[in-house]
Amino acid sequence: MSGEPILSVRDLVVEFRTEHGTVRAVDRVSFDVFPNETVGLVGESGCGKTVTGLAILGLIPNPPGRIASGSIRLAGRELVGLPEGELRKLRGREMAMIFQEPMTALNPVFTIGSQMIDILRRYKGLSRGQARAAAIELLAKVGIPAPAQRIDEYPHQLSGGMRQRVVIAMALSCDPKLIVADEPTTALDVTTQAQVLEQIVRLQQEFRMAMILVTHDLGVVAETCQRALVMYCGRVAEKADIAPLFAHPRHPYTAGLLQSLPRVGQQAHQDLPVIPGMVPDLLDLPAGCRFAERCARRDARCDRELPELDGEADSPSRVACFHPL
């Protein structure tokens, strides 16, 4: 974790205009990603993980959404406010995204080959034949058997795991500096999950890329990431290196998440403790700490004030809590 960060996000705010008012899906989120490392982005459903990833690639659907403020720097270059045409040239080449839903992420009416060749030709200036050869090679790399035949198949002829591998191959095709992997395995069955995840980690190392791995599975984070960001309700609750995060979680929410993780030696069917209560509605947020309602350590101040991350901006471990563990 030395040198300049590849990606540097500062005070990112993403808002959506809905019928019932403006929703702040991401609220002043800051973090860095350094070359060659994997940063985990964890949190319950709806906490803004996907939106954060989309914001980095400049893919927030507008309308209804927009980046309201903040800064996103990729290799020192400011992305917020960059014209769409410029931003577009970075997508797929400098940064790539792997999506949550492999079943629908590929265009059903084109062969996977033509979808891959398209990218390779656009960015690498390859001829059709060269691009095809490169695509076959990539498919082999992500573990697709008989890639020379598979390349001419349509997405519906592939299983979910295969499709996700194709998207991964597409993401790798132009050696991006950064990959945002948005729950790449959630939609897959358990055995495939492990395989695909392993593949991603191996390729991340082989291609020497930085990666943001979005997941709500802390187990996955423990296996693959060097650092992690825990998000709650659009805000960063805690960020830390993996070892201290798991050994000594400081935010009560992180602690709660860790407790609900099955441990080695624990009975498989034993009930795991779950965090009581519900995530507040983004349209109707409390004035104070957003986790207060579900928190055992809550006091009057928590209801009044919104806690900010403590410590220096670049300190390795920060928490947004008045009463950290």
Binding site: L59, P63, F99, T104, P108, V167
Partner: protein, 317 residues
């Protein structure tokens, strides 16, 4: 081979539709249609004369026999002669259908192509002012009656109180220049009306596709927006587009031109059909309705084959 087999099966499965269309039309237009007996007779006919004419027209046969006769006529394409003009029905249709096609085709093609173009533009700028402008135009177009458009365009382009550029009515076509003279105003009217409906339909199809995940993937890999539309999205939208276009064809062959033909006095199949309905000219009616039904079955087959050509998920089975 597979396609041939499939086609035969599909055609066979079109038989219930064919029977249904011919049956209902036969019931309405022929069985309950106008009785021609007295039109064909002189003054003060005798009972024998009446009976003779009725036998000649087939009125004395039981319903099912008449219907079966009709089906045989459809199968052999032998409908006899028109009651009103005495012309062979197949000749009559062979003469009038090309006129209708020439009349309606330019408007049909332009109306769809332009609409698709506008729809792509609107979808590209969705929720912004070009979209709003195009959709406002579309709703306005849809709110004006076809008949009003025809009348207005005739007044504006053809009448002496307007520009007077084109013939007011008729169809006196012997050369391409004359064709253009006669076809322009009906085409403009058709395109104007079709644009409203088509643009709206195409836009909604395209926008729905734009909201799909694979479009986001394409954007995440830097596909330029214009290319996204014409390459990635358009192909996905082809199924509803093909359906709409292909199923309009049987209708425009038979009745799409009815209003224009009647209004401009153009001797196409629409006008012939309409006249046949009003006079109860059964041989013509039978031919037209049978033809429509056959065209529909063929259109169904055509769409199925086209679906498979554009969408790999569709299989012929």
């Amino acid at each position: 081979m597979e396609v041939l087999q499939y086609s035969l099966r599909r055609l066979a499965s079109g038989i219930p539709l064919l029977l249904g269309v011919t049956f209902i039309s036969f019931l309405l237009m022929v069985y309950f249609g106008p009785d021609q007996t007295y039109q064909l007779l002189g003054k003060n006919p005798t009972a024998e004369q009446i009976a003779e004419i009725r036998a000649q027209l087939g009125y004395d046969q039981p319903f099912l026999v008449r219907y079966a006769d009709y089906l045989r006529e459809v199968a052999t394409l032998d409908f006899g002669n028109s009651n009103s003009t005495g012309e062979l029905v197949t000749d009559l249709l062979g003469r009038t259908i090309p006129v209708s096609l020439m009349l309606i085709l330019p408007g049909f093609v332009l109306g769809n192509l332009l609409a698709l173009l506008l729809a792509l533009l609107a979808a590209h700028y969705r929720s912004r002012w070009p979209d709003k402008g195009i959709m406002a135009f579309s709703v306005t177009g849809m709110s004006i009656s076809y008949l009003i458009v025809i009348i207005a365009f005739q007044v504006i382009f053809s009448s002496s109180s307007g520009l007077g550029w084109f013939p007011v009515r008729g169809w006196n076509v012997h050369s391409f220049a004359e064709y253009l003279e006669y076809v322009t105003v009906p085409t403009l009217a058709t395109v104007f009306v079709a644009l409203g409906y088509n643009t709206r339909f195409y836009r909604s199809v395209i926008v729905e596709e734009l909201n799909r995940d694979h479009v986001r993937t394409a954007r995440a890999f830097g596909v330029p927006p214009a290319k996204l539309l014409y390459r990635n999205v358009l192909k996905n939208c082809l199924i509803p587009i093909i359906t709409r276009v292909v199923f309009t064809i049987p209708l425009i062959v038979i009745s799409g031109a009815l209003l224009v033909e009647t209004y401009f006095g153009i001797p196409g199949v629409g006008k012939v059909t309409f006249d046949a309905i009003t006079t109860g000219d059964q041989p013509v009616l039978k031919a037209v309705v049978g033809l429509t039904a056959v065209l529909f079955v063929l259109a169904q087959l055509l769409t199925d084959i086209l679906y498979r050509a554009v969408d790999p998920r569709v299989s012929l089975s």
